[in-house]
């Protein structure tokens, strides 16, 4: 989230698209309802009418996988009707930047495409520079090559009738949503966008979110209270896990993992590649070196490039994301798998194929609260022949959240410490303990090795106590970082050094543990202004509650609205002050030419309406991998930058055989793959059966009655479920035809107290062109009554 949960109450309009917080983030409604009680309006955009839709003032239906068309139409409406926040757009975004003549867009394709690699040469979309290397700008936004004009032209194709022909939204509703949301472009108003996996789990997932960001920048909704682009994270600590480098190409603090490419042969070469010339990221070498000091301590020296060569390297150009790992498993390239609370047999795309791949492993270690469908994939119950599977499976019982101590970071970036409530049952252990015990034993095993390949393990410092129970306080202190000589805690990430004199396990958390107080333990719920609760826990970075809060003030440093003060320039004191920690140089005043550059992480300090990611600098609608119609916006059907994996994992269904659009989701009552909730009686009884939601119209066509047992099939497999015939699903009325759709929860499997068919037996093994997140949310299927 750019903002945070409590801040939702300050919104004038909330648009929930690609999320269903009433069901998946119920506590959010505590804050959303406060906004509504003050006259705020709630818009719910979803393929189906959810519990969130019931709470909303306006419900708009869209076909799964058409978010860019939907938002693109809103952007066009706002530009055509000049409803954007003019001063904000001109001064705070890159709208005025002039783009190189090599940029072009024609029939769904941007310039610079390499058909063989399915990738673009992004240099074709660069900004034009003068001789001194400064970006050329047109503050009047009239130059036909400036971002504003290019964007306007690009989205002019997203006229209302074309859009609703693709999304299936009722025209009157769509116009109502455009008008209501565009009202937040008025100076002083705030609109927020809430999204989750409904936005991201598409082959165009990243561009979906880009389209939300563009909309918000146009309306001046970033940096202000009640605004923002707010990702509702799917688990209590999924924010924390990505912060700490969970993704294969990240190290902690959103920095890159080195590769085997020539540029990365030396630490300096690697730093040169990953460090931009402008923006706050110029400090990256300080953060990277400090991180390696936390890994290798005194074994990281200037002489050995701070241990850079101990770091594992990615094979250049190779993708190690979730689906590609299963591809590799399928090809028998992976021997072992460590799973922490992960259940791909239920949660993975094309789960049937992923389960098959598991049997190619030599060993698997599953760490979980319960025996899951994955750790028991070899059992008869799973439909497997145990004698033919050679994988050795080791199960380690894990502690539940109440049985251990540590912090979780919520969607609003608040790092909140939690204490152990009860002792773990039996031999179960906390994940941290398990990793600690493993590391201690590995260190011991390699202690006397002289093999150069073992050096990283030998160089690794692991000073978290001498027992099998780690001293978590030492872990916390190291995450924050300290001076290597004095061992004094570092106060802020601005104090980190690239000369090896400081360490910090994760620079974005640097500051949460200054001296002797772990600030994530703070529980002072005094609201000192705008519900920011600055003394409750700790928000990264630097305890800031709203990112880019410089943009909450106008060009002179005054709040756009008196009722929405973030930070303001105090001329008397010569510093930024207000209800939040400034996301800006605190004493940078109006005399500084960069006084009006609020987006400090970006080169140039401007919000990126135009930003190069893999499939282009502006979002463009492409159809999902499996889709019911040809693309109305161009002759390009699928996102041209999507990469394909192992062919056998990747079966594609055709609309002639599978005419129904399907999507998957979660319910309030169950959690992820259901391992925890289907094993808990009081939750299990609330939703004890796998069901598929279908419209009355489709039910009639297929001769299906409510409560009938049905079979759902896709190109990947089929599952059994109960039919839930409901008015909440309505067929999509698209340009040339009416298309049916169904939806189903993905919580079920064959383990636990309540069991049922796994929806992911049906989902495709293809993902987004940037993140490779699987396209769980839009695919094709068919339904029939079970005989």
């Amino acid at each position: 989230m750019t903002n945070h949960w409590n801040d939702l109450k300050h919104a004038d309009v909330l648009m929930i698209i690609g999320a269903n917080p009433a069901e998946n983030h119920p506590i959010s409604f505590k804050w959303i309802l406060k906004a509504l009680e003050k006259g705020g309006k709630l818009i719910s955009v979803d393929p189906r009418f959810t519990r969130t839709s019931q709470m909303a003032n306006v419900y708009g239906q869209l076909r799964s996988g058409t978010d860019i068309a939907f938002i693109g139409g809103m952007i066009n409406y706002i530009l055509e009707n000049e409803l954007f926040h003019k001063e904000y757009v001109a001064a705070y975004t890159n709208a005025s930047y002039i783009v190189e003549d090599t940029y072009s867009f024609n029939d769904g394709m941007f310039s610079g495409y390499d058909i063989g690699k399915r990738s673009y040469d992004k240099t074709k979309w660069a900004f034009k520079k003068d001789k001194e290397g400064k970006t050329l700008k047109d503050p009047t936004l009239k130059d036909p090559k400036c971002v504003f004009q290019l964007m306007k032209k690009h989205f002019s194709r997203y006229d209302i009738d074309t859009v609703i022909g693709v999304t299936g939204t009722a025209k009157e509703t769509y116009l109502d949503i455009c008008k209501t949301y565009a009202s937040t472009g008025e100076v002083g108003k705030a609109g927020t966008i809430l999204y989750a996996m409904g936005g991201t789990q598409h082959t165009v997932g990243t561009q979906n979110i880009r389209s939300y960001a563009i909309l918000q920048l146009l309306l001046g909704n970033i940096g202000i209270s009640g605004g923002g682009v707010n990702a509702l994270r799917g688990e209590s600590n999924v924010q924390g896990s990505t912060d700490f480098g969970l993704l294969y190409d990240n190290v902690p603090g959103y920095m890159q993992v080195p590769t085997t490419a020539e540029t990365d042969f030396t630490y300096q070469g690697f730093l040169d590649r990953i460090t931009p010339k402008e923006g706050y990221w110029v400090n990256k070498p300080k953060f990277y070196t400090s991180m390696m000091k936390s890994f290798y301590g005194d074994n990281a020296t200037k002489g050995n490039e701070f241990g850079y060569h101990y770091l594992p390297k990615l094979a250049a150009g190779k993708n190690y994301s979730f689906m590609r790992l299963f591809d590799a498993m399928h090809r028998k390239e992976l021997e072992g798998l460590l799973l922490f609370g992960s259940n791909p047999a239920v949660g993975g795309p094309n789960a049937g194929k992923e389960i098959e791949s598991l049997s190619n492993l030599k060993w698997m270690v599953a760490v979980d609260l319960f025996e899951t469908e994955t750790s028991s994939f070899w059992q008869k119950e799973a439909g497997a022949d145990p004698a033919s599977i050679q994988t050795e499976v080791i199960f380690l019982p894990a502690s539940g959240s109440f049985e251990k101590e540590g912090s979780v970071t919520n969607s609003g970036r608040w790092m909140q410490y939690r204490w152990q409530a009860i002792k773990p049952k039996g031999e179960s252990k906390a994940d941290l303990e398990i990793v600690h015990m493993l590391a201690r034993r590995l260190k011991e095993m390699y202690k006397n090795s002289s093999n150069p390949a073992d050096m990283p393990m030998k160089a690794l410092t692991w000073d978290y106590g001498e027992s099998d129970h780690p001293d978590i306080d030492l872990v916390c202190r190291e995450i924050n970082g300290y001076d290597m000589k004095t061992k004094q805690q570092v106060k802020k990430f601005g104090d980190l050094k690239d000369d090896g004199s400081t360490c910090s396990g994760n620079w974005i958390y640097c500051g949460f543990y200054p001296e002797n107080e772990n600030l994530s333990k703070r529980r002072d719920n005094t609201d000192e202004g705008m519900s920011n609760f600055l003394n409750w826990s700790y928000a990264w970075p630097a305890n800031r509650r709203i990112l880019y809060n410089r943009a909450s003030a106008d060009l002179n440093g005054k709040a756009w609205s008196k009722t929405r003060v973030g930070i303001e320039w105090n001329a008397t004191e010569g510093k930024w002050k207000g209800n939040d920690v400034p996301d800006f140089v605190v004493d940078k005043g109006p005399n500084d030419p960069t006084f009006i550059d609020p987006f400090i992480m970006m080169a140039g300090g401007k919000g990126a309406l135009f930003a190069s990611i893999n499939e282009g600098p502006l979002p463009e609608h492409y159809e999902p991998y499996e889709n019911p119609m040809s693309n109305s916006f161009s002759s390009v059907q699928l996102n041209p930058a999507v990469q394909f994996g192992e062919e056998e994992m990747n079966a594609q269904g055709d609309v002639s055989k599978f005419p129904i659009v399907a999507t998957t989701y979660r319910l309030s009552e169950h959690w992820q793959s259901g391992a925890m909730t289907r094993s808990q009686e009081w939750l299990a009884e609330l939703v004890p059966h796998m069901f598929v939601e279908i419209s009355e119209e489709l039910a009639k066509e297929k001769g299906i009655n409510n409560k009938d047992k049905i079979i759902v099939s896709s190109a990947r497999g089929e599952i059994n479920a109960y039919a839930m015939v409901t008015k909440r699903f309505k067929p999509y009325k698209l340009k040339d035809k009416t298309v049916h759709h169904i939806g189903m929860p993905w919580h079920f499997g064959y383990k636990g107290i309540v069991t049922g068919g796994s929806a992911n037996r049906l989902t495709p093994h293809i993902g987004d062109a940037n993140s490779t997140i699987p396209e769980y949310k839009a695919f094709l299927c068919d339904v029939r009554r079970a005989k």
């Binding site: 009433a22 069901e23 119920p26 506590i27 409604f29 505590k30 309802l33 009680e37 009418f49 519990r51 969130t52 839709s53 019931q54 709470m55 003032n57 419900y59 309030s668 009552e669 009686e681 009081w682 939750l683 299990a684 009884e685 609330l686 939703v687 004890p688 059966h689 069901f691 409510n706 409560k707 109960y722 039919a723 839930m724 015939v725 409901t726 008015k727 909440r728 107290i753 309540v754």
Partner: protein, 272 residues
């Protein structure tokens, strides 16, 4: 002590069902896996071991939109409680909080209360004693009287994150309910406060988004005259003259024949 009530504003409910889980948790009630009902609703109705059920009800609005109506349904704790009147053993009574509770030690499991209740809120649980003999006890929501006695809120109110279930001062809450009603009338033209006066009001008051019958609630429930005659006149006299057992048989006859009629003509709306 000021009078207190539980106020359920269904228009604030987002259907999360934390009230159901917290109730089972606090009262240590067993789970009951029911067959698939064709909707999100987990239990067809309140049972002896499921004291509150979130009901889900879909209906098209006049403007072409849709409403998915949720209701936390549980015992209403009637001021004139038919269950109390029907009980031959005086096992059911009002507490100082206005809640209606069953004294399990006194309850003989005759089931008259079950027949008498206009809301299907009380039911018989079956147990087996040490000798393998079955016996029954009437069970229902206690409005968490044991928590109220300790100065806590009912478990469902504590768990409710939207404030759809609140517990507090009767006058304050009834007045806030009127304000809320005015706010929601535009969205829900049929919205009303359900606090039926035919039974002198209830200790769980609802703000409903639509007519009571939409939610399977009787428009104007009353304690049958027969119940009043039975409890307040016949039973005391009869017990003196005929003995308790005979009176129980007569009571059963009255309850089943007169109250059943009331039942079938009201409520029992199908869900979704």
């Amino acid at each position: 002590m000021a009078e207190t009530i539980k106020l359920v504003d269904v228009t604030k409910c987002d259907g999360c069902r934390a009230c159901m889980v917290s109730c089972k948790n606090w009262n240590d009630l067993p789970s009951e896996m029911e067959d698939f009902h064709g909707s999100y609703q987990s239990h067809e109705k309140i049972t002896a071991n499921t004291w509150n059920v979130l009901t889900f009800n879909e209906q098209e609005r006049k403007d072409g939109g849709l409403d998915w109506l949720f209701r936390h349904s549980s015992c209403l704790h009637c001021t004139e409680a038919a269950c109390e009147k029907a009980c031959p053993e005086n096992a059911i009574s009002h507490t100082e909080f206005g809640s209606v509770v069953v004294d399990y030690d006194t309850c003989v499991g005759c089931g008259y209360c079950v027949q008498a209740c206009s809301f299907d809120a009380i039911n018989l649980a079956t147990y087996i004693d040490k000798n393998g003999k079955e016996f029954r006890k009437a069970q229902k929501c206690t409005q968490c009287t044991d928590r109220l006695e300790e100065g806590l809120q009912p478990a469902c109110a504590t768990a409710c994150h939207t404030g759809a279930i609140v517990y507090g001062d009767k006058d304050e809450l009834l007045s806030s309910a009127e304000d809320r009603l005015a706010q929601i009338k535009e969205r829900y033209p049929n919205a009303n406060i359900y606090n039926p006066q035919g039974i002198s009001g209830t200790n769980t008051v609802y703000i409903l988004a639509d007519k009571p019958t939409t939610y399977g609630l009787p428009e104007n429930p009353k304690v049958a005259l027969s119940q009043i005659v039975w409890k307040d006149y016949a039973q005391p006299i009869g017990k003196m003259m005929l003995g308790a057992t005979t009176m129980a048989v007569i009571g059963s006859f009255i309850a089943t024949n007169l109250n059943k009629k009331n039942h079938s003509s009201e409520g029992d709306q199908s869900h979704e």
